[in-house]
Symmetry: C2
């Protein structure tokens, strides 16, 4: 919190904002309750389908992670009826616990979707809550998609209102706005009244999850999982008329004043139904911090264009944005996790393996002698003119030639989003070894055609491992 509060302008002071924006929660709730799926533009619905596809892929990919194994072991003795699937596994849990576990698995590789305006991962708290409940209460694919759009809208708007100050204080914003998103989505699905929706948002406001201090531990991916559960709990209680504040976001002691040093309520209430936040969603091509993505992109492109193999390479020279050094400057990583913070490893792995997925950030890859040998011949220097989504990469071959590439906008950035085909390739990579190939194809097909499905829960059933 520190001294940041001292610099808050009058317009942002708690009292002024509270008085000026008395109906913030109610207006957002009214929108969520009244939104109709027919009114959502086709491009927005298409982006939501891409979000579902990407989220499902990430949940499958993370489903065998130790973090997930442990979470299941911890909750199973207390879990209720086998109402919902754990994606990529045989386990079935009650709705609330399935949401927790699927929320964890979809975030554990840090490979899930990212809102470009904040650093919220929109799907991880919302999709698991909705999907688990869809297995318990019939929901069409179209309704599912619409509820997801509503949930993402609510959480991202609230995030926009307090970003970056709220994040700077130390809150993991995905876990703190996630309960709002899950509550709104589930509330929409349950047909809450406006008053009940206000209360659901109140119950969400009072259950924020997540300190950034937990980054680098298993608890990070616990955050969206718990946020999903908190949103479900909020909606379930509100549906039974469990009362809460009528101004949980904007009151003097409401969420925005207590958890942030600044707040811009217009971000929550302006242009509802006109601008949809899911339009700003992005998908990562590589399971690591975005700052290394340009370098990986450049290395993969040069490799493909010139059919490169490590044996032909003398050395690799990178000119990068300063953040690349600051965040991923580790010269000699010892573990897979450390490899995610080494631009040198990432580029070497790209050349050696021709792809950079989770296995290429495994302990084995980081210790692979051919990767280590190439890594030591990668150099990097900072160029202040290089933007965050850019890189200049030069590869000097043993035959004396030099190959150069300037990446203007890395794949996955706002200006160069992943194509549908690239998302499908990512899906195949993550689902490999988790589900049989024919099942993967059916699942991808189901995602694209979700709006025509009579039963959204078929997604969960297809994504559950039968063996």
């Amino acid at each position: 919190m520190g001294g940041a509060a001292a610099s808050v302008s009058a317009a942002e002071s708690p009292q002024a904002a509270g008085a000026a924006a008395r109906d913030v929660t109610r207006r957002l709730a009214a929108w969520a309750v009244s939104s109709r799926k027919e009114d959502v533009p086709a491009a927005i619905r298409r982006e939501a389908l891409r979000t579902v596809l990407n989220w499902t892929a990430c949940a499958l990919g993370g489903s065998r992670h130790e973090t997930v194994e442990i979470a299941i072991r911890a909750v199973k003795p207390f879990s209720g009826p086998e109402q919902a699937s754990v994606l990529g596994r045989k386990d079935r849990l009650d709705v609330l616990n399935a949401a927790l576990v699927n929320g964890i698995s979809s975030h554990v590789f840090d490979f899930d979707d990212t809102d470009l305006r904040t650093v919220v991962h929109p799907a991880a708290p919302v999709a698991p809550a909705l999907l688990a409940l869809a297995e318990h209460r019939l929901l069409s694919g179209g309704e599912f998609l619409h509820a997801l759009i509503v949930g993402v809208e609510v959480e991202c708007r609230i995030a926009n209102a307090v970003y970056p100050q709220h994040y700077d204080i130390g809150w993991h914003i995905t876990g703190t706005v996630g309960p709002f998103g899950a509550a709104a989505a589930v509330g929409k699905m349950l047909g809450l009244s406006e008053q009940q929706m206000v209360w659901a948002l109140g119950l969400a406001a009072t259950q924020p999850v997540g300190l950034r201090e937990m980054f680098g531990t298993m608890t990070k991916s616990f955050h969206p999982g718990r946020a999903a559960q908190n949103g479900l709990m909020a909606a379930f209680l509100a549906r039974q008329n469990f009362t809460s504040s009528d101004q949980p976001i904007e009151a003097l002691r409401g969420w925005a004043n207590v958890l942030s040093t600044a707040r811009h309520y217009g971000e929550i209430t302006d242009k509802l139904s006109e601008q949809y936040q899911i339009a700003y969603n992005s998908y990562k091509p590589f399971p690591c911090g975005v700052v290394i993505h340009p370098a990986i992109d450049g290395a993969l492109q040069l490799r493909a264009e010139h059919h490169l193999s490590a044996g032909r390479i003398d050395r690799i020279e990178l000119q990068v944005h300063p953040l690349v050094f600051e965040l991923t400057g580790r010269k000699a990583p010892r573990t897979g996790l450390e490899g995610k913070f080494s631009v040198y490893h990432a580029v070497a792995a790209a050349i050696i393996y021709g792809r950079v997925g989770e296995p290429e950030f495994g302990d084995q890859a980081v210790r692979d002698p051919s990767v280590v040998a190439l890594r030591e011949r990668v150099g990097a220097s900072v160029d202040a003119a290089i933007r965050e989504d850019q890189v200049r990469i030069g590869i000097l071959l043993k035959d004396g030639r030099r190959l150069d590439k300037f990446i203007e906008h890395a794949i996955g950035s706002a200006q160069n989003p992943m194509t549908d085909a690239q998302l499908e390739a990512k899906f195949h990579g993550l689902a490999e070894g988790v589900l049989p190939p024919d099942r993967v194809n059916r699942l991808i097909d189901f995602c694209w055609k979700l709006e025509q499905a009579a039963d959204a829960a078929q997604l969960a059933r297809l994504a559950a491992a039968s063996v």
Copy 2:
């Protein structure tokens, strides 16, 4: 948050505190893990028994409240095996959900124990977590009591470190420190290692519950219930080696820096095993804010001493602390809940009924014509020389006499705690109509002899309604 951060002294700045106090969480965890019940002084264990007795009474009294009914209805479809009792009811839920509901019922009347140094309600998040798990895993009464003492110690010390700033920001401190208390108590019961206990506290830190904005709604009593669940979840995960931060409380982005503008780590680590926080626990004689307690106490004493009835009284004059006017100055309450904020109603009810429990703050009592008639003859004036736990009360009789009483320390205050007999009377009042009288007597007896019990869960079984 407001401008409070600006006044933080250098010694309290996040960086300085972080550097000076690197092992706060580990030292607290090490103490919790190594504490032995034989080392706890008899007077402390006695106070813990009083805490258990009072908490059980409150949970029974609240067990039929609408807030509890709704919560059970909301969670029941998802609840796991019938592992644990809901006190005062026939319902059985899984451990986590039983803890939620018992946490709600024990706080719903605002009648539970209060830490005198902060305004934490120590038992409400800790006792429900422990008791629910005790029904699932055998635990002796002595171990139960010791784990409760450990949990209360941990939560109250963390509260002391950030009070009052953390509360002033807008956090409901019972819900934000409650997860630490429940995690420590359950972790102690499960025999966590020191490292696991650190992680459990980390998982608790990342799940704070409760904005003060929720006061006056059902969500207020949800806070300790959810805190109990969060503590259980934290301990269950940590037991399986789910990793978390090693410095969740004191890190730069840890709980104390993110959720408070000031922090005093000595309150957490000084004099462990020497000063026990449960020694500062207090019990309310009346189910309303403590500021009216002196007036009720005085009215009840004069009534008893002079066998007063309303018909003999001309008028009543109170001289009170300024806060009494500020918080409870409602002249004509219309509902029971409003009656809790009316010193006039409270004094009139004391004279009419001779007791002031939950029924005397019911809608019916507030509208009782005899109460209304007397209430209109109660006057109050502020006297700056009157302390918070004092009152001067004068009753003018119709026969011209005047009866005066000065309450030096109201019943339930630090200097005049409720006696064991008064706690038993409170228990009888709250359990009336919930359990049969002979069962109530057995339960009170079991509480006092808890340390000799081979199975602590007998408490839950005796407190469950068989009909």
